[in-house]
């Protein structure tokens, strides 16, 4: 059995206080291993995105521990936590959040630039990853000139360029048609999933369930079940 990549122990998170308090996560326990592509699914408001944020070191839980690559995330100071995210975790946001004023290659190179790599080297590296995601010819264009699927690929390239161990994807197919969505997730699985990497995906999209190795279902801030799928 492969090593644990992400582990959450009794994680709780609530927003507001008193009567206005909303419990987003209620003592959630989760384990994802390297080599797994884990989906977190559930209806809107079930706490999927909150859980993803907590286990990726973005949102501090009110209680519980999160271990990510054997590191107790919420014991880290702010700078160390930022460094951890920068080096260990790749993010693909639902709305991509690409910089429209930079070229596609520069967008991809951002994590490397933040890691203080030389600008030109980072952009060259970005171009290589763009080549992998099939956008070699789009490297010098601004993202606004690309289609939704291509922008998603750029966002994925940006998440992968720093070779993170964990890839976090938030609703990666929300803005894409069925075929493009499937192609994207299939591509990520082929390119990234191996015993050294772990992919966590929050999604509503049942059309891409076939690519998951495990599907965890959330409801009302709790994990209510999980389904193992053949790899």
């Amino acid at each position: 059995m492969s090593e644990v990549a992400v582990k959450a122990n009794d994680v709780s998170k609530w927003f507001g206080e008193g009567e206005a308090r909303t419990d987003a996560l209620k003592k959630v326990c989760l384990e994802a291993r390297f080599g797994e592509m884990v989906y977190i699914v559930g209806p809107s408001g079930s706490g999927k995105t909150t859980l993803l944020s907590v286990i990726s070191g973005i949102l501090r839980p009110n209680s519980g521990d999160v271990y990510c690559v054997k590191t107790n995330l919420w014991q880290l100071q702010a700078d160390a936590l930022a460094d951890f995210r920068l080096h260990r975790i790749g993010f693909v946001f639902q709305d991509y959040h690409l910089f429209p004023r930079l070229t596609t290659a520069e967008n991809v190179a951002i994590p490397l630039i933040l890691q203080k790599r030389n600008w030109d080297e980072a952009v060259e590296e970005g171009k290589k990853v763009l080549n992998i995601v099939g956008l070699k010819n789009r490297a010098d264009l601004p993202p606004v000139k690309l289609s939704g699927g291509e922008q998603q690929r750029v966002a994925i390239a940006r998440a992968l360029v720093s070779q993170p161990q964990i890839l976090i994807m938030d609703e990666p197919t929300a803005s894409l048609d069925g075929d493009t969505g499937r192609a994207i997730v299939s591509f990520v699985k082929e390119q990234f999933l191996n015993p050294e990497h772990c992919i966590l995906i929050v999604t509503h999209d049942s059309r891409i369930y076939e690519y998951a190795t495990r599907i965890m279902q959330m409801e009302d801030g709790k994990l209510i079940g999980e389904t193992e799928r053949p790899r």
Partner: protein
Amino acid sequence: MKGILKLAYKLLINDRAKFTALLVGITFAVLLMVMMTSIFAGVLNRSSSTVINIGAKLWVMDPAVQTVANTIGMPDYVLDAVRSMPGVKYAVPLFSGGALVKLEDGTYQAVSVIGLDDTTLYGRPVMEQGQISDIFAENSFIAVDDSEFAKLGNPHVGTTFELNDHRGVVVGVAKVSTSTLFGVPTLYTTYNRAIQYIPNPRYTISYILVQPKSAGDIPAIQREVNRLGYMALTREQFESRIAWFYVKQTGLGINLMLMTLISFIVGLSISGQTFYTFILENLEKFGALKAIGTRSRELVLMILFQATFTALTGYGLGVGFCTLITTLAKMRLPDYAARITYTNLGIALVMVIVIAAMSSYVGVRKVLRIEPFDIFRG
């Protein structure tokens, strides 16, 4: 760090519309601020033109004197007393007054007359035409080739005029470093001829120009002069006194300061609002950077760099335009008094830095407050 700054730079300048709006705002503000303060500096400089052009180290005068133009005559014994003070190398009288001259074409022109000490000609100007020694010839005057020179009909050696029914002859043309403030030409002559030609009150010494033996003697001389009931000011002190008079007593300072303040507010409004919009539009992107792993202080550095870069570029453009306008204006208008000094530039720079700081402060607050979680939530 270099990569972060380059990223900030690209995000800024690639947004051409915003960057242009920011630059226009700051450039315009700097242009106005430097123009206002340089006009003020020019006016103040001209108000002290006699002090600058004569160049004496120490000026003795009546304590009621506020400007060079408003002289109060001193009795001769003050000159004798000053000459006998320890630390005084020499002291000479200076006459400074106004008169009306009748030009060759029959028109009248107000002039400023400077009467130099007959013995030493201390404070004499640099000659362009003629010899300074010709000033001792009968009825002789030296015309100053400044911005008002044409009002005397562009005189040359030999040009005649009448001053208080006395014949005057231009025996030379001189140049000075600073033109006068009041738009009247200047004539130099000897002290004795000046008090003879121009109707005067009982006492005729406008100023006593003192050369101290050393700079260290100046405070003692000032104390001695004070004991006599008069006032001795160094050149810088006298210039400050005159400047202070125009700033405080004429409303000139307040008006120009208000204009400078308005320019500052205009610049702050335009650039502050544009920069704020720029930050707002990129807020989610900054949030994404934060989620990816950018430290808060790196985001602050990016914003400060963007604000500083814009401010300094706008400052350079503003100063450049101001220099261009001032140069063109001086070519066309000899009377144009604007004068760009290091102090003007320093004041404008400080104000631009304040604009940059205030603009970026709002942006920094916004960026520090954004939670990466908000990016996930969409």
